[in-house]
Symmetry: C2
Amino acid sequence: MEKAQIGRPREFDAEQALQKAMVVFWEQGYEGASLAALTEAMGISRKSMYAAFGNKEELFRKALRRYSEGTVSYIVDALEATTAREVAEVFLTGSVRANTRPGCPAGCLGVQGALAVGETGRVARDVLTEWRAGGQEHLRDRFQRAVEEDDLPAGSDPDLIARYVMTIANGMAVQAAGGATREELLRVAGAALLNWPPA
Amino acid sequence: MEKAQIGRPREFDAEQALQKAMVVFWEQGYEGASLAALTEAMGISRKSMYAAFGNKEELFRKALRRYSEGTVSYIVDALEATTAREVAEVFLTGSVRANTRPGCPAGCLGVQGALAVGETGRVARDVLTEWRAGGQEHLRDRFQRAVEEDDLPAGSDPDLIARYVMTIANGMAVQAAGGATREELLRVAGAALLNWPPA
DNA sequence: GCTTTTATGCACCGATCGGTGCATAACCCG
DNA sequence: CGGGTTATGCACCGATCGGTGCATAAAAGC
């Protein structure tokens, strides 16, 4: 489905530029990331950005997709773990590592990218809200399966368990943004996992 | 220490205006809240705002102080509870209610007010980071006391326990911003409190 | 060569940003 | 009544916001 190359070829690597944009959004949030900051980090002009990615909102959506497929890909491994407890463990430890990755902004793009925003950030905020809800649904479905497999006690509430685990992850993202270290957060994750199943 | 009234008296209630500004910051974040939105909500002109509060940063600081003394005053009650477990319980249930107060924005000003920001929001972000750290320190000191009183097991780590409790609160703030209801969050808080002490 | 198509750089757009100068208004004190 | 002091409304500031028009450049297909 590759479009045959017609016209002047672009002079930059779109994936590399998107990676840079992702980091800027991650660090400064949707509203805080100006086109000037984004294009400077991407190493391209405004015009090239618009031609390649559409506009700021679309760039943000694409940056978030890249974030999902890269930084946050540990969630896939988590969902494939054999027990509910391992799911929670892989998810939380993966979150900690993603939130405290050297060379990357502290915290989680999906949390700090657009939590409270003005008029211009509404779409980005809604995109992230949906993004977090989607992750939580995946966890819930997995815990639902665990109940059916007698891996979690009959009568367990998969919604509550998923929300509990996601709340810990969200909280650790805020902690990381505030400067918490990987070791500190791993201890928090460990404490949260002492409590299993959490209800 | 009241300054004698000299000159034309102001035509608005400063406390009421500050309350309105607080809500706007709470809802839209520091960067998302424009002077236009703030002054419109406050019902005063730009000039009156600058005369009464200094500038946007100072207004934010004062709004945060008002938030601390009003919305978040439950932390005082929490710290005065008789057992460490009650401290955590009052703190977390208080957080839930503050995060889901009808007629107020969902979530926590101290979290979503300025988590990731551009150049212009650095100060606000640092103010909030310090604010959250301050709350966590109060919890830590209280849990330290609990250790000394044999209310928590000898060898317990007050830092870890405080961070654990604050992480839950931070996570619930994100959840609330994403639309979680009071009942859902109370269940999460209940689940987190099943685990006590958390390490 | 030519046309067609796409990319790039630059200058520029109207709108909005936070913040201010200035004239006027409303109060206290004498 | 002044004179001093503070508040208010309006117009305006330079800077920056996200986004674009246009001329030029570099490729493919003929």
